[in-house]
C-alpha cells in the first residue's frame, strides 16, 4: 500500500468517526467493508497464510480485518463522542447472583464492554492497562494499572477489597504487565496475567469470561462459563475462537507467539 493510499485509508477511517454517532449502521458497515477490502488488496493484517496456520481457513482473514476496522472506528468514536455513542449499540442481558471476576480477552469489540458493565446493577471496578477512553458512569469505576510492581499490588489489593464488599472486578487477562503464566492457545503460546487468578484464590469469587461480539453494526456482550485456571482460560478462549475465528483481533494475534 503506497503512502498516498495509506493516507486516503486513514482519512476514510477518520471521516467515518464523524458519522459513527449519528449514523452508526452506515459507519460500521462501511468500516467493515473498508477493512475487508484493504486485507484483500494487501493480504496483510492478518495474512491469509497465518490464518490458514491457525484455523485452516484462509478466507477468515478479510473477516478478521473487517472486525478490526470496526474496532478501530469504535475506539475513534469513543474518543470523539464518549461512550454515549456506543451505549445504544450494546445488547447485554447477563445477570449475576453475586460478585464476579470478569475476565476479558482481546477478542471482538472489547472496548464496548464498558457500556455493558454499567448495566450490571452492582459496583464494578475495571482495571485498564492504558489511559481512560471515556468517563465511566456509576456503578462502573475504572482504575489504570500502573508501571511498578508496588502500584499494581496496591490496585490488586483494592480490587480484592472491592470483591469482598460484593462488587465485581473486570480486567483483561491477556494483558501481561510483569510476570506471566504461559498457556497454549491455537497451538501457540499465550501469556496470561496472574492477577485474576490470584484474586479468585484470595476471595473465592469465580472468574467468568466476558466478550463483546459484533452483530452487523451492533454489539452483543455475553458472559461465558466459569474459568477454573489459566489453562482452562486458554482452552475456553481457543473454543471461542475456533467457533468464531473472525472474533480474533490483531491485538491478540500479536500476543500469540
Amino acid at each position: 500500500m503506497s503512502e498516498l493510499d495509506r493516507r486516503s485509508y486513514d482519512g476514510a477511517g477518520r471521516a467515518l468517526a464523524y458519522i459513527a454517532a449519528s449514523h452508526p449502521s452506515i459507519a460500521y458497515r462501511l468500516a467493515g467493508a473498508l477493512g475487508a477490502f484493504r486485507n484483500r488488496v494487501t493480504r496483510r493484517w492478518p495474512s491469509p497464510d497465518e490464518m490458514q496456520s491457525l484455523f485452516a481457513d484462509r478466507d477468515v482473514a478479510p473477516r478478521i480485518a473487517a472486525l478490526n476496522e470496526k474496532n478501530r472506528l469504535l475506539v475513534r468514536s469513543i474518543r470523539r463522542h464518549g461512550l454515549d455513542a456506543v451505549r445504544p449499540l450494546v445488547k447485554f442481558d447477563a445477570t449475576f447472583d453475586g460478585p464476579r471476576i470478569l475476565a476479558m480477552f482481546h477478542v471482538g469489540a472489547l472496548h464496548a464492554i464498558g457500556a455493558a458493565l454499567e448495566r450490571l446493577g452492582r459496583p464494578v471496578l475495571a482495571l485498564r492497562a492504558k489511559g481512560l477512553l471515556f468517563t465511566p458512569h456509576e456503578p462502573l469505576e475504572i482504575a489504570v494499572v500502573a508501571e511498578t510492581a508496588g502500584s499494581r499490588a496496591a490496585l490488586l489489593h483494592r480490587a480484592l477489597r472491592y470483591l469482598r464488599r460484593g462488587g465485581s472486578v473486570a480486567l483483561a487477562i491477556d494483558e501481561v504487565p510483569d510476570h506471566a503464566i504461559e498457556t497454549r492457545c491455537l497451538g501457540r503460546t499465550l501469556r496470561l496475567a496472574p492477577g485474576a487468578f490470584a484474586l479468585a484464590r484470595w476471595s473465592g469469587v469465580p472468574i467468568v469470561p466476558i466478550t463483546a461480539r459484533w452483530v452487523g453494526s451492533r454489539i452483543r456482550v455475553d458472559a461465558g462459563r466459569e474459568i477454573a485456571s489459566p489453562d482452562d482460560a486458554a482452552a475456553w478462549l481457543e473454543d471461542y475462537l475456533r467457533e468464531s475465528p473472525s472474533e480474533l483481533t490483531l491485538g491478540l494475534l500479536r500476543k500469540l507467539s
Partner: protein, 77 residues
C-alpha cells in the same frame, strides 16, 4: 524495633525469602526482596491476618515501600 510486630513481619517475610537480612530500609520490591505484585499483596494479607489490622492499599503504592514502612503501617504510625 525488636518488638512483636517487627518479629512477626520478619517471620512472614523470612518464610518467603530465606537467608536475606531483613532491615527496616530494605525495599520489599525491586532492589530489595524482589517481591512481585502478587507476592506483595500476599504479604499484606498475611500481615492483616496475623495482626488483626487493615493495611491501606496505598501503602504498597509507595515508591520502594520498605520493611520498616510496612511495620510502621501495622503499628498505625
Amino acid at each position: 524495633m525488636n518488638d512483636n510486630i517487627t518479629r512477626g513481619v520478619h517471620r512472614i517475610l523470612g518464610a518467603r525469602e530465606r537467608g536475606v537480612e531483613l532491615r527496616d530500609d530494605l525495599p520489599l520490591g525491586p532492589n530489595g526482596l524482589g517481591l512481585d505484585s502478587i507476592a506483595l499483596v500476599e504479604v499484606v494479607l498475611e500481615c492483616e491476618e496475623a495482626f488483626g489490622v487493615t493495611i491501606a492499599p496505598e501503602v504498597l503504592a509507595l515508591p520502594n515501600v520498605t520493611v520498616g514502612q510496612l511495620v510502621g503501617q501495622i503499628r498505625g504510625e
